[in-house]
Subunit: 352 residues, 2 copies
């Protein structure tokens, strides 16, 4: 469907390892005052400003496991790989400042393919105002692999952990859920159609939001800022890209609490609802277990309710209970079902 | 030759991704006061002590490209993967404090194999007094891949970059060179012998130092300490694991200077000299281009000569010249040869 229209092919070996790194990274300039030295020495050098603490997170993306290049253009992949990591920085309520990017690539990829990948990384770095300060480029025996480490910083008192949720706290989620998973379903269906009939012209207009959430997700850079403006410090926070239900369970386990989540409160985009009907999937199950929604889940004390009430970015989906009460979903029919990590139906493994 | 004697086999899928990470990382405890939060949240949290600057470096090691599991036991691989990264931290004249470890692994590896790998990582972390603060474990379609990010810190005035070398500065190298490359030659020869005759009992006594330098190298944690004790701040410094000659060229390019390196000053272990004779290789070429010697190259002003003179860890191998004079090796026969990145003879690519 989405092809690389660049027909020039330069073999990686023509540039050599150092030449390739120089070629791919020359576009990166330093924007953050916390970056003292970027690419070009044995290590990057950064400083924590105003006695901030530093947060560090890392993620590995493997071809054939985390992404499929038959519908994921390389530029989008580069962009998404950055987003995946930044989401974890924002989940600490911190500002993202730097990343390092390591790529292992087989020689079936020409230099131009890596240029596409790095163009996506550069676009994300620009939009999210982060510096690319290091990395490594090496050959692989097969496929493409990306390893990104993201660095951020925040004052000690602003950093929010997974533990800290207290009984009666409100459980809040950002944005809406399930769209990335439904985008993947649409793309996989189109891939099958394309295999049978390469001349088919897919009409994806009804799924634009879903496909964008899958191919070009955004991380919630705005949430740490919004929380600061609202003068709200969550009692706990977590990134939910591995699936809402599994991350609610992580948060409750780390905080040693239980929770009640209300099915009718889970935020869904209308495209998710209609696509779920079309694919005969339960939209709640998709929202709870689909994954790849780069949204944040957090808890706040009830005294903060007036500050977050009605905010279009935030939805209260439940509340924290005593540990002994367990972790439950209250369905629309008002029945109480235990929350399980992969939805309560058998569901195929998502690609997270 | 070196086999995993552990016969129990547990499939990775039996534990699941989160179970696997928990299982592999439960042995890691926090030792550094600069580590606020290690494994177990969206990101690790660290602080820079005494207003130190933070250094960050990352490296990717790919099976079949950077290591061969037929003679590299997994425990050694884990250890070496940490060393590779720490060497870059020490090359900034910084103290290493934390690492993150990401592993992509195919399902041909049982959980016990990953335990071996992590045992090597844990051993290195203990010896080098660093904390393992994060990482990612994922499946790969083939082989094993390790991505490690190392973090360190040092006062601003202590950090040493590749640029900064000045005309007349002395060029100093730590330890001795070429042993890791010769260790690889010995191991590859034994692998060939083993293929022909699996019953053969190799006698490797004459090569113990070489094999240790290849399979269980150490990084020069002692050098930043030694330089502090000697009250020497190098004008420039670089890790030479990619090969002495290529790194001299990097240092000279970054510092915009030239240099003269004296062949008869290059430090060689007696085992390197005798193995080079046996393999019919030029020991100078091996020392200049073999690579994988986790040693440091640095420059100091001539006023520091009395402080470093005669130190058993340090060898003065040349001096810095004006950029226009170029970068040369002065041979034992007193002829001047341009330094080239891969030795002046055609040499097979080293495995770095």
């Amino acid at each position: 469907m989405l092809e690389n229209k660049n027909n020039e092919k330069t073999r990686i070996s023509e540039l050599g390892e150092f030449g390739l790194i120089d070629h791919l990274t020359k576009q990166f300039s330093i924007k953050n005052t916390s970056t003292i030295k970027g690419i070009g020495d044995d290590a990057a050098v950064i400083v924590s400003e105003k006695n901030n603490q530093i947060v560090i997170t890392t993620d590995l993306l493997v071809e054939g496991v985390h992404f499929d290049l038959s519908y994921m253009p390389l530029k989008h992949l580069g962009y998404k790989a950055v987003i995946v990591n930044l989401s974890d920085v924002f989940a600490m309520n911190a500002k993202a400042t730097q990343i390092t990017v390591s790529v292992a690539v087989s020689n079936r990829f020409p230099v131009e393919a890596l240029e596409e990948l790095y163009a996506g990384i550069a676009t994300a770095a620009k939009i999210y105002e982060i510096d690319v300060v290091g990395g490594d480029t090496t050959s692989s025996t097969t496929g493409l692999l990306l390893s990104i480490t993201a660095i951020g910083q925040a004052p000690k008192e602003a950093i929010v952990y997974r533990e800290g949720a207290k009984e009666n706290d409100l459980l809040v989620v950002t944005g809406d859920l399930g769209a990335a998973y439904m985008g993947l379903q649409v793309l996989e269906r189109e891939k099958e159609v394309f295999k049978v009939n390469p001349q088919s012209q897919p009409d994806l207009d009804a799924y634009t939001y879903l496909i964008e959430r899958q191919l070009k997700p955004e991380a919630r850079k705005d949430i740490p800022k919004l929380l600061k403006e609202l003068k709200v410090t969550p009692t706990s926070m977590i990134d939910i890209s591995d699936g809402l239900s599994s991350e609610i369970l992580h948060l409750c386990k780390n905080s040693e609490v239980g929770c009640n989540v209300y099915e009718d409160k889970i935020p869904l985009d209308p495209q998710v609802i209609s696509a779920c009907e079309e694919f005969n999937l339960d939209s709640t199950m998709v929202a709870l277990s689909g994954g790849e929604d780069y949204e944040l889940l957090f808890t706040v004390g009830t005294e903060d309710f007036p500050k977050i009430k009605g905010n279009p970015h935030l939805t209260i989906i439940g509340h924290i209970t005593h540990k002994n009460e367990g972790t439950h979903l209250i369905t629309r029919a008002n029945t109480k079902i235990p929350l399980v990590a992969r939805g309560w139906n058998s569901m195929e493994e998502s690609s997270d």
